[in-house]
Each structure stands twice: as structure tokens, then as C-alpha cells.
Amino acid sequence: MIKATNVVKQYGNLKALDNFSIEIPAGKVGILGPNGAGKSTFVKIALGLLTPTSGEITVLGETLTKNTTEIRRKIGYMPEHDCIPNEMTGVEFLIEMGMVSGMSLAGATERTHEILGHLRMGEEKYRLIGEYSGGMRQKIKLAQGLIHAPEVVFLDEPTSGLDPNARREMLETINGLTDVSTTKVLLSTHILQDVETVCDSVIIVKDGKLQMQEDVKAIVGEKSNFVQVRIGGESENFISELKKKKITVEDDGRVLIIPYVDHSTYDDIIDASVKSECSLYEMERTSQSMDSVYQEIIE
């Protein structure tokens, strides 16, 4: 979908992207990173709004530097900040955006009503945008990005500033709209759950550098088979008992993390605690969320 080779974007002394190379596959991909990591800069470069200081980037097989404006026919963009005019109605605004994308009046009108139907906006669509709630404004922002049926849509912090209910609804809307279309998604966010809810794969960025690229399912699946154990007494003895059975133990200072193989893992843990004379306070099979993977990388 997008291929970046040694992309550098420098603002004065600050490197927003530092030798950033990546090949993003088609599908629903999340770019995750703390604020200032370079996510939005990458999205804006991929959209042709910013020119990289050096490096090359291709979007949907076309080189950006050669064909910037034409590539945007195939791209939809939902910016992070509020950017919709208050003095137009939702319908008027979407038709205008459709026509600015190159659609005919009839085509833009048809698509506007169809998309607003999917977004479950009833008579509100004829109200002025200035009267909309935050969630409705986000929906309109999303709709304008999808109005011209792009091949890929870039969503920059789509749940930014929304309350939990509106956030959940927004994520469901993104999933709903992208499931009924062939549009691919590039979601830039600093919220892990957004990526877990929407995306198939994730890219983690920090300080303008690529930290990790992986399937969301692989991350969650890979790390889900472990048992979290809390004991009283000398943990070294307990750990050495487990090591005798060739079981690796990770001590995070608060709990011990032991890979889960099958039900016999529990027997091995109980056996080790008896032999090491340690009290077994807690033994729980838990799944490691993306949160811990993310924290591990970021910290």
C-alpha cells in the first residue's frame, strides 16, 4: 500500500522522521506512537501535503514526488483537528467535498446520502454543522474522507477528543464503513485500543523511527499464553525449581510470568512452590494486551 525508503523530515534541528523505511501492506493498518513520534508527519508526507527532506515514498504503487495531486484521487483523509465549516449543513459540506474531489453533482449527492445513511444520521444531516455534537462532527469528517470512494483512507487520530461512548461508536463506524467497502485504512493514533479494535496490523513509531511492525493478532496471540504468579518467600528458590524443569521465568518485580504450555504448567508451578517452600498467593492465566508490548517498546 505504502512504501517509504529512508524518509527524513527535518524541521530546523528537529527530526520528525529519521531515516524511516517501511513497507505497509494493504488492509487496516495502525500507526501507533506517543505524541510527537512522527505519525502525523508520515501521514501528511504520504498524502503529499509535506515534502520529505530526503528519501522516497510510493503510495499505491506511484511515486509521490512525481504525481502528488493525482494520487490524492485514490486517497481519503480525515485530519486530526476540527476542520469543518460551521455555516454549512452536513449534506452541503459533503456534496462540496465530493465535488472538490472531482465527482459530479449527482454522484456526490447520491454518495452523500448513502454514506450518511451508513453513519445513521437522520434529519441531523440537514442541520448546520455548527449545531453538531463532537461525535457527529467526527462522523462528518470521516464521511468526507470516504465520499469519493478512495482506495485508501488516512485517519489521523479519529477518536481524539471523544467521550468513551462516542469513541466506541466512532470505532464501530470506521469498522462498519470499511467492512462494506474495499477501502484500505491507515489509522494514526496514540490510543492502543483504537488499533486493537480496527486494525489487522500495527506499526509502532517513536522519535521518528520505526520500532516495530507486526500483525495485531500475532502480538496478542503470541503473548497470551502465560501464567502470572505471585508468591511469598524466596522467589530465587522458586525460580530455580522451575528452571530445573526447563521452564523460563520472567520477574517483572511485582509478579512472575511463566509461559503456559498446557494444564501441566499449573502442576509444575504448584510443585515448585511446595519444593521451594514458597507460599503461592496467586496463579492466574492472563493474556498480555498490546498495552504491555507498546509500553515495552516505548519505554
Partner: protein, 311 residues
């Protein structure tokens, strides 16, 4: 369920059938022009009112009172000519038409928020994420003001021409003998409309508040004109030869001088109640005009580029 599935299929298979960039830009411009003339806003009402005044002045000052034999130009004395298409753009003084005041007021009202509003509500980012370049966007915002100003520059002038043609018995030969006039009126209209459009757009880009941008533009255009005329008068009192060049600092005078150049007529400014000829070479004039026009366009492009990078 079946209905939902059909809706989804249609949504998925939708063919947007997108048009080309020039049509997108033209479409944006024409839709904005349409919105400028809406009667639902105070701005739209104001613009309609001012257009009505321009046509009323055209009718009263020229169509009713100019004799066909005095059209387009009549000699005032051995030195100076009076040309109707040039008087049309004069202020409300002497024999002039008074259009300029309303022309600048319309330009200020129409252009005040045309880019500034997009920048203030940040919708400019959405426009620029579409398949258009920054230059396309500027052209699309230039078109509506430009067309609007042509309605109060070239069009009323053509009405005067038609009226004079009618006064001459609608003879084809009369019109064919004045082909140059038809071209000159259009060139003059494009000059005034284009210049005030781009300056208005520049103020709109610079000052993101519509009302302030409009009034600053109006005061800038007339203010520099008055200041330059005052200095011109003072310098003339001291018989300083280079006094004429001070007028190059006033956009009003630069376009007027170019307009006189189109009609190959001597340009004069009243100093101490007497007309004084302004003698500035056409090359200098065109160079100054080019710098102003390109400077405004370049400045707007730069501001938008900076805003994109720093949003």
C-alpha cells in the same frame, strides 16, 4: 437484511467517476461565485446593493448623458483627452464615473473571507488533501471574485458601448471600426478585476477575520492612494522631477496608469487644482505591476505552505 446487503454492495462498488483538475478548479470557483451572490447573508445583500449602484451610475452618468459623437474619447484641450471607458473607473469627482469606490468596496466585501474563512475554520486542509495543488486552490478562490468584478467593470462598459452603437444607428461598420475598443474594454476589465481580486485575496490570507480583512484592504488601497497623491502634490510644489514615481507606490494609480496605457492616453493627476501629466515609462509600469501581482500570489502560496507544515 436484504435491503442492507444491497445498500452495502452499492456502497462497495460505487464508481466515483472523478473529473479532471481544471474542471474541479472551475467548479469550485463557480460554486463560490454562486455563494457570494446569495441573498441569505448580509455580505451577499451588500454586494447586490453595490452592483445596483454601479449600474445606476453607469446609466445616469454615461448612457443618458454622453453623446454618441463624444464616445469613446473627446479632446479637452491640446494636451488632454477625456475617454469614457477611463472615466468609468474614476472617483466620484469631476466628470468621473464613481465606479472605483464601489468596485473596491465590492472587491473588499467579496474577498474578505474567501481564503481567511477556510484558514480560520481549517477546512483549507481538507481542500488541499483533494486532487488539487495549492496553486489550483488559489485559482479556485480567485475565480469568483474575478468574475464578480468583471460584472461591474467590463460588463457595464460594454453596455455603454452598446448604447453608443445604438445611438449611431446600430451600424455594423461603426462597431467594426472600433474593434480595438472592444478588446481594450475587456483588457481594462481584466486589469482592474484581476488586480483588486488578487490584492483582496492576499489580505484575506493575511488576516483571517473577514470583516477586518475587508476593511484593511479598503483602507490600504484608498489610504496609499491618498498618501501618494499628497506627496505627489508636495513634491510637485518643489518642482521635483521624480515626483511621478511616488505614484507607483499606490496600487490605484498603477492600475489607472496601465488603463490609460491601454487606451494610449496621457495620464494626469490633479495637483494644486491643476492637472499634471504623469510620465512613467510603460516598461517600468508593467514591471511594477508584475512585481505586485506575482508578489501577492507568491505570498499567498507561501503562507498556505507554511500553514500546512505547521498545522
Amino acid at each position: 437484511m436484504r435491503e442492507k446487503a444491497q445498500l452495502s454492495d452499492r456502497f462497495r462498488d460505487f464508481d466515483a467517476n472523478l473529473t479532471t483538475r481544471p474542471w474541479i478548479v472551475l467548479g469550485m470557483g463557480l460554486r463560490k461565485f454562486n455563494r457570494l451572490l446569495t441573498l441569505k447573508t448580509w455580505n451577499g445583500l451588500g454586494i447586490w446593493l453595490m452592483i445596483a449602484v454601479v449600474y445606476l451610475l453607469t446609466f445616469i452618468r454615461f448612457i443618458l448623458f454622453i453623446e454618441p459623437e463624444d464616445y469613446p474619447c473627446v479632446d479637452l484641450n491640446d494636451e488632454y483627452q477625456r475617454c469614457v471607458p477611463l472615466d468609468f473607473y474614476g472617483d466620484l469627482l469631476g466628470n468621473a464615473g464613481g465606479t472605483k469606490l464601489f468596485l473596491i468596496a465590492i472587491a473588499a466585501t467579496a474577498s474578505g473571507g474567501i481564503i481567511g474563512n477556510d484558514m480560520a475554520n481549517k477546512s483549507i486542509h481538507l481542500y488541499l488533501s483533494r486532487p488539487i495543488s495549492r496553486l489550483d486552490y488559489l485559482i479556485a478562490r480567485f475565480i469568483p471574485v474575478f468574475i464578480l468584478l468583471l460584472l461591474v467593470t467590463a460588463l457595464p462598459n460594454y453596455m455603454i458601448l452598446s448604447s453608443m452603437w445604438s445611438g449611431n444607428g446600430l451600424e455594423t461598420s461603426w462597431l467594426l471600426d472600433r474593434k480595438w475598443l472592444i478588446v481594450n474594454i475587456m483588457l481594462q476589465g481584466i486589469l482592474y478585476s484581476g488586480t483588486y481580486s488578487i490584492i483582496g485575496l492576499t489580505f484575506s490570507t493575511l488576516i483571517k477575520k473577514e470583516g477586518i480583512a475587508s476593511s484593511t484592504f479598503f483602507l490600504f488601497v484608498y489610504g496609499t492612494s491618498l498618501v501618494c497623491e499628497t506627496f505627489f502634490t508636495i513634491l510637485n510644489a518643489f518642482d521635483i522631477d521624480e515626483a511621478d514615481y511616488i505614484l507607483l507606490l499606490s496600487i490605484n494609480h498603477v492600475v489607472d496608469m496601465l488603463s490609460y496605457l491601454i487606451f494610449d492616453t496621457k495620464y494626469y493627476v490633479i495637483a494644486f487644482f491643476t492637472p499634471r501629466e504623469v510620465d512613467i515609462g510603460s516598461v517600468e509600469l508593467i514591471a511594477v505591476f508584475t512585481v505586485i501581482f506575482a508578489g501577492c500570489a507568491g505570498f499567498m502560496y507561501w503562507i498556505i505552505q507554511q500553514m500546512e507544515a505547521n498545522k
